[in-house]
């Protein structure tokens, strides 16, 4: 039950994008076409899950024993996450070039995606165990994916809309994201 609540919380209530406002960059950047969005979701789920596992191990077996967790945590995490993303970039370019081309700059940008770092840091802050950390990382990524896919659906609709010229493109997308976030507030408090 606890785990289910954890998942529900990360996916719906404390959605990474829509209520913690993490990972906005790919959220806006890769939401134009549903196929690209799905690819991004896959990449993010993979990165976040693996990053949760790796950072947890780092924290428990290296940082904490040496007493470095107070001030080296962020730096180490960024380093690890960056290299993970780099690895995925290389692998994707080799094995799924069309998806790689479609994701473009946003794949390397997961590197600096606060959502991934956010997951790692939240894991440590909440003092989750290994399994819980991985689960949280995974469900946070699921939440990200949910938001991204919903938003992509909306985005395809608003791309056909007819906003005033100054609101065309990213401006109207941000307004929509805001309204979507408003809607997600309905889940407020459902799970702590």
């Amino acid at each position: 039950m606890e785990y289910i609540l954890l998942i529900v919380s990360a996916v719906l209530v404390n959605n990474f994008v829509l209520s913690r406002f993490l990972g906005i960059c790919p959220f806006l950047g890769v939401s134009k076409k549903i196929h690209t969005a799905m690819g991004m979701c896959g990449a993010v789920i993979f990165v976040m899950t693996v990053a949760s596992a790796v950072t947890w191990c780092l924290q428990k077996f290296l940082l904490e024993p040496f007493g470095l967790d107070k001030f080296l945590q962020t730096l180490t995490f960024i380093l690890v996450i960056a290299s993970l993303v780099q690895l995925i970039d290389i692998v994707m370019k080799r094995f799924v070039p069309p998806l790689h081309a479609a994701l473009g700059i946003f794949l390397p940008l997961i590197t600096t995606n606060c959502a991934v770092l956010g997951v790692a840091v939240i894991n440590m802050k909440e003092g989750f165990g290994f399994f819980k950390s991985v689960l949280f990382g995974f469900s946070a990524a699921l939440g990200f994916s949910l938001a991204l896919i919903i938003f992509t659906g909306l985005r395809e609709k608003i791309d056909r809309a007819d906003p005033p010229r100054c609101f065309k493109g990213i401006a109207i997308a941000l307004v929509t994201a805001g309204l979507l976030s408003l809607a997600f507030m309905g889940f407020n408090g459902l799970v702590k």
Binding site: F66, L68, L72, L75, L79, V80, L87, V91, K93, R94
Partner: protein, 263 residues
């Protein structure tokens, strides 16, 4: 204190080393071959992604230049500077291109050109053209539903009194409007040229007159009074040969239909 700083250095250094090494290995074994020049040519292009060169965006054009030795003078927004830069980089000769601009070869606005019926439908030239052949009485003239204005990436086209007008100073000659015009009225001409025959009707004089008072009636006066060879006849339609500079501006006055215009 020293200990901690040293420890940190050692720690990060070690971590970086391990990760760096493994990434290097991965990069080596999973590398995808790509000509590095593609990226550099892409940098030289203006990133307008207008598609005027005929490729899907600047990156594709860069790829075509490097891989397929595509012509390097296709980028209109980049102009001569861009071409010279690419020429220098690729080590090929640059062929000089003249600055071109699009022009709508029709001056039959709503005051002078008749309409055959009241069109009621999609506000789009191709759609209007496909509905009973377009509402303009002249089957060659500009319909004025602004499809060209909508595709123009730099907003250089406006619709005035029911026909399209190109603003020369804004036009980047990307040819998008040319592709979209169902009546093929838009042409690229040298931007320096000032005198144009603003009509595309190949109909005979009486038929032209019936539909529009400023249509070319094929009277040939411009070929007589204009510079030698500057005006040529294509059936019943006079055209400007832009390779010949025009000095005798009195042709404008001589044209009985007033479709020779200086801008």
């Amino acid at each position: 204190m020293d200990n901690i700083i040293l420890q940190s250095f050692a720690w990060i250094g070690l971590l970086g080393l391990i990760i760096g090494a493994s990434l290097a290995v991965a990069a080596k074994y999973l590398a995808v071959k790509e000509d590095p020049r593609i990226g550099e040519v892409n940098e030289l292009l203006p990133a307008a992604n207008c598609g005027g060169c005929g490729y899907a965006g600047c990156a594709e054009y860069a790829k075509a230049i490097v891989m397929d030795h595509a012509e390097i003078n296709l980028c209109a927004p980049g102009g001569t500077d861009c071409m010279n830069a690419i020429a220098a980089f690729m080590g090929v000769r640059a062929t000089a291109t003249e600055k071109m601009t699009a022009i709508v070869l029709c001056c039959g606005d709503d005051e002078v050109a008749k309409r055959r019926f009241a069109y009621n439908g999609i506000n789009d030239c191709a759609a209007a053209h496909a509905t009973a052949g377009g509402d303009k009485a002249c089957t060659w003239g500009c319909l004025g539903y602004g499809s060209c204005a909508r595709v123009c990436p730099v907003n250089a086209i406006r619709i005035e009194k029911g026909i399209a007008k190109v603003d020369k100073t804004l036009c980047i000659a990307c040819e998008k409007c040319i592709a979209v015009c169902p009546r093929h009225l838009i042409k690229l001409v040298p931007a320096a040229a000032e005198i144009h025959v603003l009509c595309s009707s190949k109909d005979k004089g009486p038929a032209v007159k019936k539909a529009c008072s400023t249509g070319c009636i094929g009277c040939r006066l411009c070929t007589k009074f204009g510079d030698e060879g500057a005006f040529v006849m294509d059936g019943f339609l006079a055209k400007v040969d832009y390779s010949i500079p025009i000095t005798k501006e009195e042709v404008i006055e001589k044209c009985p239909a007033k479709c020779i215009v200086k801008d």
